[in-house]
Amino acid sequence: MLHTVNKSSFERNSLQSCLNTIDDTSVILFIEDGVINAANNANSSMIADLAASGRVFALQGDVEARGISPKLADNIKLVDYAGFVDLVVEHGTAVSWV
């Protein structure tokens, strides 16, 4: 599955709820304000292990728009919108943690 998260973990619990129910093969894509979760910050430990296993992606346009590029946490993979489409194709059912 592909889980998209569009909220900062500082604002809402969408990321935590996603992490509570994500299975061992699914991946996460941060979009919109969700890319705040891809920055190196006090909440980075939430996703550190998943990112280290190559399962955390962030939408590049949203990262750049928020000035996060220089502060990206380790092992986050950036994708453009075409890459977003590819993730949906590759990972089956899409779950949006709105």
């Binding site: 569009n6 919108y81 075409a82 977003f84 489409v85 949906v88 194709v89 899409a94 709105v98």
Partner: protein, 133 residues
């Protein structure tokens, strides 16, 4: 691959509609099919032909219209939920006249239909992706 997209938020207040548009555009450019975009909740407001953003801003409604998403019969597959639309004052000619209201605001690139169209899209498509807030 055949995609369905659900848009739950109106234009400008949330990024959801912009992201959904960029996703749909990228999917089409990469050889995929957008079977239907279903606008629900405040997402119905993406269909207002009275939308007038300032010149230096993107035109969310025209962006959607530019994708020209239609079915084999030539009908638009930018589908606005009827119940959500009527609640929020989004009317096509037929709904306006049925309810004795003068004028209508639905952009011609969109059409109004029932919630069954969302379920049908989920059944027919390989993937359904929800954009909301």
């Amino acid at each position: 691959m055949k995609f369905a997209i659900q848009v739950n938020e109106g234009p400008y207040q949330h990024q959801a509609s912009d992201t959904a548009f960029q996703f749909a555009k990228a999917a089409i450019e990469n050889g995929h099919e957008i079977f239907r975009v279903f606008f629900y909740h405040d997402g119905v407001n993406n269909a207002s032909r009275f939308t007038l953003p300032p010149q230096d801003d993107r035109h969310v409604v025209n962006n959607w219209a530019s994708l020209d998403i239609k079915n084999a019969e030539g009908e638009p597959e930018l589908v606005v939920c009827v119940a959500a639309a009527l609640r929020r004052g989004m009317l096509d000619e037929s709904e306006a006249s049925k309810n004795s209201i003068e004028g209508n605001n639905l952009h011609p690139a969109f059409r109004i239909s029932g919630l069954g169209q969302l379920i049908e899209a989920g059944i027919q498509c390989d993937r359904l992706v929800v954009f909301g807030d």
